[in-house]
């Protein structure tokens, strides 16, 4: 079930009505309802994979309890590794098996041994990377004695499977979400209105910007050889906006939907394209994943404590793993490596934490230097997205080579002015709202209702009027 589908438009009000009118007297009933509706939501894709989700939930739930009961550190450690191995094992089989098999066969062919790799003809269970990381964070936190295990199975299951975040995040932490699930929730008018506005803005990003950009980005990337360098730039630009609006749009809808149930999820995006350097970009892009890798990989590896070499090594490790998390393709690994390279000068010169606040805070315009830094950072991100979007490294190379050819200085064959205007308006709104959690959070908030509602009507009109061709959310495949 997609957030931007008619099925979800029917599903959500039904669940909300049951949640606030039927089960509102009992927390247990409310949580049970959330669990059943989350499983139904997931089963709408493929009910067979529901069993995998339930198994993963059961595994981490019991492992958590067993680790808490363990009499010796060795027993605790064995339960911990059992859970980690099974979780990563599932991820490995479903997501990476074919990649390793094909890469192994390719490596053999380099030394003259030709084999046909044995591949698994299986579908990638939607959301597996997200709920596996959910479960892992819970198990790691218990192992490190940061949290106590959750004894109530339904509460824990809702933490793993809460439908707004189930298939594409944000990747939640037990310390943040579990207390909210255990606490009685009362309807909060302001929170609900805030949620509705965030859903509206997420829909706009997805349907108007991402889907329209996707049409042209797909056209250019799928027929790259037929177009000039200037058109390649447009393709790369469109994909850059597509992936941002697709994923952050999804996150806004997820966060907004959760607010309607009285639950606050972790923020996933904070205007990454207004970043002044790549380090800031990575603090603002897919925040829940970046912070997951920081807390569960970078810091355990020694983080920034062990000198320059260790910082560089650890940075490369988390970027390569982060790339690999996105999928079983060398393009994702190279994309991760490229970002590590971009961030390297900042790490070495210890300038990676220069920009912690949003650009031009309290001001309307950025300084010239800030503007130049933003454009350069955007260009670097754009370059890396080309690799991310390409089918393979060869295509990425050809695509970039074409950009730096003479045909860069020709009139692009594809020039959808309408989409450029939409992107411009979108970026203006994002800039105006950059100090808020999402761009329209306080848009026209002090204006009379008529003005406010006119703004919302205008956004709804745009969603229906400029709706692009239906596209899956990109991050569902991860």
């Amino acid at each position: 079930m997609l957030f931007n589908s008619i099925n979800f438009v029917i599903f959500l009000p039904i669940v909300l009505a049951l949640y606030w009118f039927v089960t509102n007297k009992s927390l247990k009933l409310q949580n049970a309802l959330l669990l059943v509706s989350s499983y139904f939501f997931y089963a709408c894709w493929d009910y067979r994979f529901l069993f995998l989700l339930i198994f993963s939930t059961l595994l981490d739930y019991f492992t958590g309890l067993k680790m808490a009961e363990a009499r010796t550190p060795a027993i605790k450690k064995s339960w911990f590794w059992l859970s980690v191995c099974i979780n990563l094992g599932f991820l490995g089989v479903f997501k990476y098996f074919n990649f390793f098999a094909a890469s192994f066969a390719q490596a053999l062919s380099l030394v003259g041994l030709h084999t046909s790799p044995w591949v698994l003809h299986i579908v990638l269970p939607v959301g597996i990377s997200f709920y596996t990381f959910h479960g892992l964070s819970y198990v790691i936190d218990i192992y490190k004695d940061r949290i106590k295990p959750e004894k109530d199975f339904v509460t824990y299951s809702v933490f793993v499977s809460f439908f707004p975040l189930l298939v594409a995040g944000p990747i939640e932490r037990a310390t943040h979400l579990l207390p909210q699930i255990k606490r009685e929730r009362h309807f909060n008018y302001s929170q609900a209105i805030d949620g509705l506005k965030q859903i509206l803005w997420g829909m706009f990003k997805k349907v108007v910007i991402a889907d329209n950009c996707a049409y042209y980005a797909n056209m250019i990337f799928n027929n790259a050889g037929d177009y000039s360098g200037s058109t390649h730039v447009i393709g790369a630009l469109f994909f850059t906006f597509q992936i941002y609006c697709d994923f952050s749009g999804y996150s806004d809808i997820a966060l907004g939907t959760a607010k309607l149930f009285g639950i606050d999820l972790l923020r996933n995006f904070a205007y990454p394209y207004f970043s002044r350097d790549i380090a800031e970009f990575w603090r603002r892009w897919h925040i829940s994943l970046s912070s997951w890798f920081r807390d569960y990989l970078y810091i355990p590896l020694g983080g920034s404590k062990g000198g320059t070499w260790m910082r560089v090594r650890n940075t490369f490790i988390i970027f390569l793993v982060s790339g690999f998390w996105h999928g079983a393709n060398w393009t994702f690994i190279v994309w991760g490596g490229l970002n590590a390279l971009f961030i390297l000068p900042l790490i070495i010169s210890k300038n990676n934490r220069n920009h912690l606040e949003i650009v031009a805070q309290g001001r309307t315009w950025p300084t010239m230097r800030e503007a130049i830094n933003m454009v350069l950072t955007f260009a670097l991100a754009n370059l890396a997205w080309i690799v991310f979007r390409s089918e393979n490294i060869g295509q990425a190379w050809d695509f970039i080579a074409k950009i730096f050819s003479r045909s860069l200085f020709t009139v692009p064959e594809v020039m959808p002015v309408k989409i450029f205007v939409l992107i411009f308006i979108f970026m203006v709104i994002e800039w105006m709202g950059r100090e808020e959690q999402y761009a329209i959070a306080r848009l026209a908030i002090r204006r009379p209702r008529l003005v406010r509602w006119s703004v919302y009507y205008a956004i709804i009109f745009c969603i229906f009027y400029f709706a692009g061709t239906d596209q899956q959310f990109i991050y569902f495949q991860f």
Binding site: I6, N7, I10, W20, F21, F187, Y189, A192, I193, L196, W453, Y456, Y457, I460, F461, F464, Y465, F466, A467
Partner: protein, 314 residues
């Protein structure tokens, strides 16, 4: 809670009213689907030759050049599952049916409308052909299956500019387009677009053809399959495996059923560039030639059947 529900209701009211008005106005715009259903309801009992199929038949067969009563029920992107549904729906009324004519194009056995990029057309079958087979609720509405931009254009064209909205003749043939396409270039594009690597639909489509044959058999009618003509840039760029599987399948159907006939026009050199609208569709003059050729085939089939009946009666 009551406060927010009240506010949401007030906020949504104008949108819902506007949506309903749009839905009603859009449904009142006449279209080919409604016209064809209406024609079939009124005249099915007199139809002798029924043409089904996609744009290859919709643009390619002009019933004005076919002897006897005939009707072209083909429409752009109509896949054979919808051909079957139309045939099933009107089978009881098709009391004089002698021939069912269906194009077997290069893509016929590997695509269906519901999974194609033109799946938004499914709504027309649900709303105007009243087939009720889709499980997607949106397929039963106008406003939820097209962008607002497109729907506003449709309303302006019909209600304000008073443009004709039915694009076919009285006998169901697509009125030829004024603007011609680049035949060579579109042939190449068409071949690329129609080459389908996913063979998963093959068995289903084959079963559908068998069902069409079986319905025709029950009505004592023959089925004429034909592969429509195309420009060399189209047929020279087809995937050999996909094409030969299609041809083998049709050969099998012809040899297994005595009421099935087939003719391959794909590389028919009597069609020149002047006869094509684009790389794989006929224009007006091309449709005339193709329709006359089909008519000759149908008369030959009639003659064979007559001869068989004479032989049997002797």
């Amino acid at each position: 809670m009551k406060k927010i529900l009240k506010k949401i209701a007030i906020f949504l009211l104008p949108i819902i009213v506007l949506a309903l008005v749009f839905e009603v106005l859009l449904r009142r715009i006449p279209n080919e689907y409604a016209y064809k259903r209406h024609y079939m309801e009124q005249h099915a009992d007199s139809i002798e030759t029924l043409f089904l199929g996609s744009s290859h038949a919709y643009l390619g067969i002009n019933p004005a050049f076919i002897s006897g009563n005939s009707f072209n029920a083909a429409i752009s992107s109509q896949s054979i599952d919808y051909d079957l549904e139309i045939l099933k729906k009107f089978a009881p009324q098709l009391t004089h049916l002698k021939h069912v004519v269906l194009p077997i194009s290069y893509f016929t056995l590997f695509t269906n409308l519901s999974e194609a990029s033109e799946s938004w057309r499914v709504k027309y079958y649900m709303l105007y052909f009243q087939l009720h087979s889709s499980k997607r609720p949106t397929d039963y509405t106008e406003i939820l299956t097209g962008s607002l931009e497109l729907n506003i254009k449709r309303l302006i064209l019909y209600y304000l500019l008073k443009r004709e909205s039915v694009g076919c003749t009285a006998l169901g043939w697509q009125i030829p387009f004024q603007k011609m396409q680049d035949v060579a270039a579109t042939g190449l594009e068409g071949a690329k677009k129609h080459t389908n690597k996913n063979r998963a639909l093959y068995e289903t489509q084959k079963a559908i053809l068998n069902e069409i044959i079986s319905i025709a058999k029950q009505k004592n009618a023959t089925v004429l399959f034909y592969t429509p003509p195309a420009y060399p840039t189209y047929y020279n760029h087809l995937d050999t495996a996909q094409l030969s599987l299609t041809l083998r399948t049709i050969d099998q159907l012809v040899s297994n059923n005595d009421n099935v006939y087939y003719h391959n026009f794909l590389r028919d050199s009597s069609f020149t560039i002047q006869d094509f609208y684009d790389g794989d569709h006929m224009n007006g003059p091309g449709a005339e030639i193709l329709s006359k050729k089909i008519d000759t085939l149908l008369r030959d089939i009639d003659a064979v059947k007559l001869q068989q009946q004479v032989n049997v009666s002797r």
